[in-house]
Symmetry: C2
Amino acid sequence: MSKGLLIVLSGPSGVGKGTVCSALRKRVPELVYSVSATTRQPRIGEEHGVNYFFKSREQFLSMIENDQLLEHAQYVDNFYGTPRDFVEETINSGKDIILEIEVQGALKVKEKFPDGVFVFLLPPSLEELKDRIQGRGTENQATIDHRMSVALDEINLLEYYDYAVVNDQIDLACKRIESIIIAEHCKVRK
Amino acid sequence: MSKGLLIVLSGPSGVGKGTVCSALRKRVPELVYSVSATTRQPRIGEEHGVNYFFKSREQFLSMIENDQLLEHAQYVDNFYGTPRDFVEETINSGKDIILEIEVQGALKVKEKFPDGVFVFLLPPSLEELKDRIQGRGTENQATIDHRMSVALDEINLLEYYDYAVVNDQIDLACKRIESIIIAEHCKVRK
Protein backbone atom coordinates (compact mmCIF):
# COMPACT_ATOMS: atom_id res chain seq x y z
CA MET A 1 0.00 0.00 0.00
CA SER A 2 1.30 3.45 -0.82
CA LYS A 3 1.55 6.16 1.82
CA GLY A 4 -0.88 9.01 2.12
CA LEU A 5 0.10 12.64 1.65
CA LEU A 6 0.47 15.44 4.18
CA ILE A 7 -1.19 18.49 2.62
CA VAL A 8 -0.28 21.73 4.39
CA LEU A 9 -2.72 24.56 3.67
CA SER A 10 -1.42 27.95 4.66
CA GLY A 11 -1.58 31.61 3.73
CA PRO A 12 -1.91 35.03 5.33
CA SER A 13 -4.49 35.86 7.97
CA GLY A 14 -7.76 36.89 6.31
CA VAL A 15 -7.24 34.89 3.11
CA GLY A 16 -9.91 32.33 4.00
CA LYS A 17 -7.91 29.23 5.00
CA GLY A 18 -10.56 28.02 7.43
CA THR A 19 -13.45 28.45 5.02
CA VAL A 20 -11.60 26.76 2.16
CA CYS A 21 -10.44 23.92 4.42
CA SER A 22 -14.01 23.24 5.63
CA ALA A 23 -15.38 23.30 2.07
CA LEU A 24 -12.56 21.02 0.90
CA ARG A 25 -13.29 18.48 3.65
CA LYS A 26 -16.92 18.35 2.48
CA ARG A 27 -15.81 17.93 -1.12
CA VAL A 28 -13.16 15.28 -0.28
CA PRO A 29 -14.64 13.47 2.76
CA GLU A 30 -11.87 10.84 2.86
CA LEU A 31 -9.34 13.59 3.65
CA VAL A 32 -8.33 13.38 7.33
CA TYR A 33 -8.04 16.65 9.26
CA SER A 34 -4.95 17.17 11.40
CA VAL A 35 -6.14 17.80 14.97
CA SER A 36 -3.98 20.20 16.99
CA ALA A 37 -2.86 19.74 20.57
CA THR A 38 -3.55 22.60 22.97
CA THR A 39 -3.21 23.49 26.63
CA ARG A 40 -6.33 25.68 26.59
CA GLN A 41 -9.51 24.52 28.30
CA PRO A 42 -12.12 22.78 26.14
CA ARG A 43 -15.15 24.93 25.32
CA ILE A 44 -18.65 23.53 25.55
CA GLY A 45 -19.22 21.02 22.77
CA GLU A 46 -15.53 20.56 21.94
CA GLU A 47 -14.36 16.96 21.92
CA HIS A 48 -10.91 15.59 22.66
CA GLY A 49 -9.46 14.12 19.45
CA VAL A 50 -12.03 15.89 17.26
CA ASN A 51 -11.54 19.62 17.82
CA TYR A 52 -8.27 19.39 19.75
CA PHE A 53 -6.14 17.01 21.72
CA PHE A 54 -6.44 18.68 25.13
CA LYS A 55 -3.21 18.49 27.12
CA SER A 56 -1.94 19.76 30.42
CA ARG A 57 0.95 22.19 30.33
CA GLU A 58 3.25 19.44 31.61
CA GLN A 59 2.11 17.01 28.92
CA PHE A 60 2.61 19.67 26.24
CA LEU A 61 6.10 20.59 27.42
CA SER A 62 7.02 16.93 27.47
CA MET A 63 5.76 16.58 23.84
CA ILE A 64 8.05 19.47 22.84
CA GLU A 65 10.94 17.88 24.72
CA ASN A 66 10.44 14.52 23.01
CA ASP A 67 10.08 15.98 19.49
CA GLN A 68 6.46 14.84 19.31
CA LEU A 69 5.25 18.05 17.67
CA LEU A 70 5.84 19.07 14.05
CA GLU A 71 5.50 22.70 15.16
CA HIS A 72 4.16 24.61 18.13
CA ALA A 73 3.42 28.19 19.11
CA GLN A 74 2.22 30.08 22.14
CA TYR A 75 -0.73 32.50 22.01
CA VAL A 76 -1.34 34.48 25.18
CA ASP A 77 -1.03 31.81 27.89
CA ASN A 78 -1.80 28.75 25.82
CA PHE A 79 0.27 26.42 23.69
CA TYR A 80 -0.89 25.02 20.35
CA GLY A 81 0.92 22.43 18.25
CA THR A 82 0.70 19.71 15.61
CA PRO A 83 1.19 16.19 17.00
CA ARG A 84 3.61 14.24 14.83
CA ASP A 85 2.13 10.82 15.71
CA PHE A 86 -1.33 11.58 14.37
CA VAL A 87 0.09 12.82 11.06
CA GLU A 88 2.46 9.86 10.67
CA GLU A 89 -0.11 7.23 11.64
CA THR A 90 -2.58 8.67 9.14
CA ILE A 91 -0.20 8.73 6.18
CA ASN A 92 1.25 5.33 7.07
CA SER A 93 -2.29 3.95 6.89
CA GLY A 94 -2.45 5.23 3.29
CA LYS A 95 -4.79 8.16 3.99
CA ASP A 96 -4.18 11.79 3.12
CA ILE A 97 -4.21 14.35 5.91
CA ILE A 98 -4.65 18.12 5.69
CA LEU A 99 -3.12 20.59 8.12
CA GLU A 100 -4.47 24.16 8.11
CA ILE A 101 -1.90 26.42 9.66
CA GLU A 102 -0.42 29.92 9.58
CA VAL A 103 2.61 30.67 7.40
CA GLN A 104 5.42 30.48 9.98
CA GLY A 105 4.07 27.23 11.42
CA ALA A 106 3.92 25.70 7.93
CA LEU A 107 7.60 26.47 7.37
CA LYS A 108 8.46 24.77 10.67
CA VAL A 109 6.48 21.71 9.55
CA LYS A 110 8.44 21.75 6.30
CA GLU A 111 11.74 21.44 8.19
CA LYS A 112 10.54 18.23 9.85
CA PHE A 113 8.41 16.98 6.98
CA PRO A 114 9.95 18.07 3.66
CA ASP A 115 7.85 15.49 1.75
CA GLY A 116 4.62 17.34 2.58
CA VAL A 117 2.70 19.15 -0.13
CA PHE A 118 2.80 22.84 0.78
CA VAL A 119 -0.08 24.90 -0.60
CA PHE A 120 -0.20 28.68 -0.19
CA LEU A 121 -3.63 30.30 -0.41
CA LEU A 122 -3.47 33.72 -2.07
CA PRO A 123 -6.05 36.51 -2.08
CA PRO A 124 -7.31 37.48 -5.57
CA SER A 125 -5.59 40.85 -5.01
CA LEU A 126 -4.05 42.88 -2.20
CA GLU A 127 -7.07 45.24 -2.27
CA GLU A 128 -9.32 42.24 -1.70
CA LEU A 129 -7.17 41.10 1.23
CA LYS A 130 -7.35 44.58 2.77
CA ASP A 131 -11.14 44.54 2.39
CA ARG A 132 -11.30 41.17 4.13
CA ILE A 133 -9.03 42.27 6.98
CA GLN A 134 -11.04 45.50 7.40
CA GLY A 135 -14.32 43.65 7.03
CA ARG A 136 -13.62 41.64 10.15
CA GLY A 137 -14.92 44.42 12.28
CA THR A 138 -13.91 47.19 14.54
CA GLU A 139 -10.09 47.30 14.34
CA ASN A 140 -8.51 50.74 14.11
CA GLN A 141 -6.35 51.86 11.17
CA ALA A 142 -3.06 51.07 12.91
CA THR A 143 -4.16 47.47 13.53
CA ILE A 144 -5.32 47.09 9.93
CA ASP A 145 -2.03 48.53 8.61
CA HIS A 146 -0.08 46.18 10.85
CA ARG A 147 -2.05 43.16 9.68
CA MET A 148 -1.55 44.12 6.03
CA SER A 149 2.18 44.52 6.59
CA VAL A 150 2.36 41.07 8.25
CA ALA A 151 0.34 39.60 5.34
CA LEU A 152 2.75 41.10 2.78
CA ASP A 153 5.73 39.64 4.67
CA GLU A 154 3.99 36.27 4.63
CA ILE A 155 3.22 36.43 0.90
CA ASN A 156 6.96 36.94 0.36
CA LEU A 157 7.45 33.44 1.77
CA LEU A 158 5.48 31.94 -1.13
CA GLU A 159 8.70 30.71 -2.73
CA TYR A 160 9.07 28.07 0.00
CA TYR A 161 5.77 26.49 -1.00
CA ASP A 162 5.03 23.97 -3.75
CA TYR A 163 1.74 25.43 -4.99
CA ALA A 164 -0.04 28.78 -4.98
CA VAL A 165 -3.84 28.69 -5.09
CA VAL A 166 -5.84 31.88 -5.59
CA ASN A 167 -8.94 32.03 -3.38
CA ASP A 168 -11.12 33.96 -5.85
CA GLN A 169 -14.09 31.61 -5.37
CA ILE A 170 -14.26 28.97 -2.66
CA ASP A 171 -15.41 26.19 -5.00
CA LEU A 172 -12.69 27.01 -7.54
CA ALA A 173 -10.03 27.13 -4.83
CA CYS A 174 -11.25 23.74 -3.55
CA LYS A 175 -11.19 22.26 -7.06
CA ARG A 176 -7.59 23.43 -7.47
CA ILE A 177 -6.53 21.89 -4.16
CA GLU A 178 -8.37 18.66 -4.95
CA SER A 179 -6.56 18.63 -8.32
CA ILE A 180 -3.22 19.12 -6.58
CA ILE A 181 -3.94 16.11 -4.35
CA ILE A 182 -4.93 13.93 -7.33
CA ALA A 183 -1.86 15.06 -9.33
CA GLU A 184 0.50 14.44 -6.40
CA HIS A 185 -0.78 10.87 -6.21
CA CYS A 186 0.10 10.43 -9.91
CA LYS A 187 3.63 11.83 -9.52
CA VAL A 188 6.46 9.49 -10.49
CA ARG A 189 8.71 9.34 -7.39
CA LYS A 190 12.35 9.40 -8.51
CA MET B 1 0.34 36.77 -19.41
CA SER B 2 1.73 33.43 -18.28
CA LYS B 3 2.77 30.77 -20.77
CA GLY B 4 0.72 27.71 -21.56
CA LEU B 5 1.91 24.18 -20.84
CA LEU B 6 3.05 21.44 -23.20
CA ILE B 7 1.41 18.25 -21.98
CA VAL B 8 2.97 15.11 -23.49
CA LEU B 9 0.69 12.07 -23.24
CA SER B 10 2.49 8.82 -23.91
CA GLY B 11 2.47 5.15 -23.02
CA PRO B 12 2.82 1.73 -24.60
CA SER B 13 0.94 0.69 -27.70
CA GLY B 14 -2.49 -0.65 -26.75
CA VAL B 15 -2.84 1.35 -23.52
CA GLY B 16 -5.50 3.65 -24.99
CA LYS B 17 -3.63 6.95 -25.57
CA GLY B 18 -5.83 7.93 -28.53
CA THR B 19 -9.11 7.20 -26.74
CA VAL B 20 -8.06 9.04 -23.58
CA CYS B 21 -6.72 11.99 -25.59
CA SER B 22 -10.01 12.35 -27.51
CA ALA B 23 -12.08 12.12 -24.32
CA LEU B 24 -9.80 14.64 -22.62
CA ARG B 25 -10.18 17.13 -25.48
CA LYS B 26 -13.96 16.90 -25.09
CA ARG B 27 -13.65 17.40 -21.34
CA VAL B 28 -11.17 20.30 -21.65
CA PRO B 29 -12.16 22.00 -24.95
CA GLU B 30 -9.66 24.86 -24.50
CA LEU B 31 -6.79 22.36 -24.71
CA VAL B 32 -5.06 22.69 -28.11
CA TYR B 33 -4.06 19.47 -29.91
CA SER B 34 -0.57 19.27 -31.38
CA VAL B 35 -0.93 18.58 -35.10
CA SER B 36 1.82 16.41 -36.63
CA ALA B 37 3.61 17.01 -39.91
CA THR B 38 3.71 14.10 -42.36
CA THR B 39 4.87 13.28 -45.87
CA ARG B 40 2.04 10.82 -46.46
CA GLN B 41 -0.80 11.69 -48.81
CA PRO B 42 -3.97 13.16 -47.24
CA ARG B 43 -6.88 10.72 -47.02
CA ILE B 44 -10.38 11.78 -48.00
CA GLY B 45 -11.75 14.22 -45.42
CA GLU B 46 -8.37 15.01 -43.87
CA GLU B 47 -7.56 18.72 -43.64
CA HIS B 48 -4.18 20.42 -43.67
CA GLY B 49 -3.56 22.00 -40.26
CA VAL B 50 -6.35 19.98 -38.60
CA ASN B 51 -5.42 16.30 -39.01
CA TYR B 52 -1.86 16.85 -40.23
CA PHE B 53 0.41 19.43 -41.75
CA PHE B 54 0.97 17.76 -45.13
CA LYS B 55 4.51 18.28 -46.40
CA SER B 56 6.56 17.16 -49.37
CA ARG B 57 9.58 14.99 -48.67
CA GLU B 58 11.82 17.97 -49.47
CA GLN B 59 9.94 20.25 -47.10
CA PHE B 60 10.10 17.63 -44.34
CA LEU B 61 13.84 17.04 -44.76
CA SER B 62 14.40 20.78 -44.66
CA MET B 63 12.40 20.98 -41.39
CA ILE B 64 14.68 18.31 -39.90
CA GLU B 65 17.74 20.17 -41.15
CA ASN B 66 16.57 23.47 -39.62
CA ASP B 67 15.64 21.94 -36.23
CA GLN B 68 11.97 22.75 -36.80
CA LEU B 69 10.74 19.42 -35.42
CA LEU B 70 10.68 18.44 -31.73
CA GLU B 71 10.93 14.79 -32.86
CA HIS B 72 10.40 12.79 -36.01
CA ALA B 73 10.22 9.17 -37.09
CA GLN B 74 9.88 7.20 -40.30
CA TYR B 75 7.22 4.50 -40.74
CA VAL B 76 7.48 2.50 -43.97
CA ASP B 77 8.06 5.24 -46.60
CA ASN B 78 6.59 8.18 -44.75
CA PHE B 79 7.93 10.68 -42.24
CA TYR B 80 5.98 11.94 -39.24
CA GLY B 81 7.07 14.67 -36.84
CA THR B 82 6.06 17.32 -34.32
CA PRO B 83 6.48 20.90 -35.60
CA ARG B 84 8.20 23.03 -33.01
CA ASP B 85 6.63 26.33 -34.21
CA PHE B 86 3.05 25.22 -33.61
CA VAL B 87 3.87 24.09 -30.05
CA GLU B 88 5.82 27.26 -29.22
CA GLU B 89 3.26 29.65 -30.71
CA THR B 90 0.48 27.95 -28.75
CA ILE B 91 2.19 28.08 -25.37
CA ASN B 92 3.48 31.62 -25.98
CA SER B 93 -0.14 32.67 -26.55
CA GLY B 94 -0.92 31.33 -23.04
CA LYS B 95 -2.79 28.21 -24.18
CA ASP B 96 -2.04 24.64 -23.16
CA ILE B 97 -1.24 22.10 -25.88
CA ILE B 98 -1.36 18.31 -25.71
CA LEU B 99 0.86 16.02 -27.72
CA GLU B 100 -0.13 12.35 -27.97
CA ILE B 101 2.91 10.34 -28.94
CA GLU B 102 4.65 6.99 -28.49
CA VAL B 103 7.24 6.50 -25.76
CA GLN B 104 10.49 6.98 -27.71
CA GLY B 105 9.16 10.11 -29.43
CA ALA B 106 8.15 11.58 -26.07
CA LEU B 107 11.70 11.15 -24.75
CA LYS B 108 13.06 12.96 -27.82
CA VAL B 109 10.61 15.81 -27.16
CA LYS B 110 11.86 15.91 -23.58
CA GLU B 111 15.42 16.56 -24.76
CA LYS B 112 14.30 19.67 -26.66
CA PHE B 113 11.52 20.68 -24.30
CA PRO B 114 12.43 19.71 -20.73
CA ASP B 115 9.75 22.06 -19.31
CA GLY B 116 6.98 19.92 -20.77
CA VAL B 117 4.69 17.93 -18.48
CA PHE B 118 5.33 14.26 -19.31
CA VAL B 119 2.42 11.92 -18.54
CA PHE B 120 2.75 8.16 -18.92
CA LEU B 121 -0.50 6.24 -19.38
CA LEU B 122 -0.35 2.83 -17.70
CA PRO B 123 -2.60 -0.21 -18.19
CA PRO B 124 -4.46 -1.31 -15.02
CA SER B 125 -2.37 -4.51 -15.19
CA LEU B 126 -0.09 -6.36 -17.59
CA GLU B 127 -2.83 -8.98 -18.12
CA GLU B 128 -5.19 -6.21 -19.19
CA LEU B 129 -2.59 -4.83 -21.61
CA LYS B 130 -2.13 -8.30 -23.13
CA ASP B 131 -5.89 -8.62 -23.55
CA ARG B 132 -6.02 -5.26 -25.31
CA ILE B 133 -3.10 -6.11 -27.62
CA GLN B 134 -4.67 -9.51 -28.44
CA GLY B 135 -8.13 -8.00 -28.77
CA ARG B 136 -6.98 -5.86 -31.69
CA GLY B 137 -7.55 -8.76 -34.03
CA THR B 138 -5.81 -11.40 -35.97
CA GLU B 139 -2.14 -11.14 -34.99
CA ASN B 140 -0.34 -14.43 -34.39
CA GLN B 141 1.26 -15.40 -31.08
CA ALA B 142 4.77 -14.28 -32.11
CA THR B 143 3.49 -10.79 -32.97
CA ILE B 144 1.57 -10.55 -29.68
CA ASP B 145 4.63 -11.71 -27.71
CA HIS B 146 6.79 -9.16 -29.51
CA ARG B 147 4.35 -6.33 -28.79
CA MET B 148 4.17 -7.30 -25.12
CA SER B 149 7.95 -7.35 -24.91
CA VAL B 150 8.14 -3.88 -26.51
CA ALA B 151 5.44 -2.63 -24.11
CA LEU B 152 7.40 -3.93 -21.10
CA ASP B 153 10.55 -2.17 -22.34
CA GLU B 154 8.52 1.03 -22.70
CA ILE B 155 7.02 0.76 -19.21
CA ASN B 156 10.60 0.60 -17.91
CA LEU B 157 11.05 4.15 -19.22
CA LEU B 158 8.39 5.43 -16.81
CA GLU B 159 11.08 6.96 -14.58
CA TYR B 160 11.76 9.63 -17.22
CA TYR B 161 8.19 10.89 -16.92
CA ASP B 162 6.66 13.30 -14.40
CA TYR B 163 3.34 11.54 -13.86
CA ALA B 164 1.91 8.01 -14.20
CA VAL B 165 -1.82 7.76 -14.87
CA VAL B 166 -3.57 4.39 -14.75
CA ASN B 167 -6.12 3.98 -17.55
CA ASP B 168 -8.57 1.83 -15.58
CA GLN B 169 -11.59 3.89 -16.67
CA ILE B 170 -11.44 6.53 -19.39
CA ASP B 171 -13.30 9.18 -17.38
CA LEU B 172 -11.10 8.59 -14.32
CA ALA B 173 -7.93 8.76 -16.43
CA CYS B 174 -9.19 12.02 -17.98
CA LYS B 175 -9.99 13.46 -14.54
CA ARG B 176 -6.46 12.63 -13.39
CA ILE B 177 -4.87 14.29 -16.43
CA GLU B 178 -7.13 17.34 -16.07
CA SER B 179 -6.08 17.51 -12.39
CA ILE B 180 -2.41 17.34 -13.39
CA ILE B 181 -2.94 20.29 -15.76
CA ILE B 182 -4.72 22.35 -13.07
CA ALA B 183 -2.04 21.49 -10.48
CA GLU B 184 0.81 22.35 -12.86
CA HIS B 185 -0.74 25.80 -13.33
CA CYS B 186 -0.69 26.27 -9.53
CA LYS B 187 2.96 25.22 -9.17
CA VAL B 188 5.29 27.78 -7.67
CA ARG B 189 8.11 28.19 -10.24
CA LYS B 190 11.43 28.49 -8.41
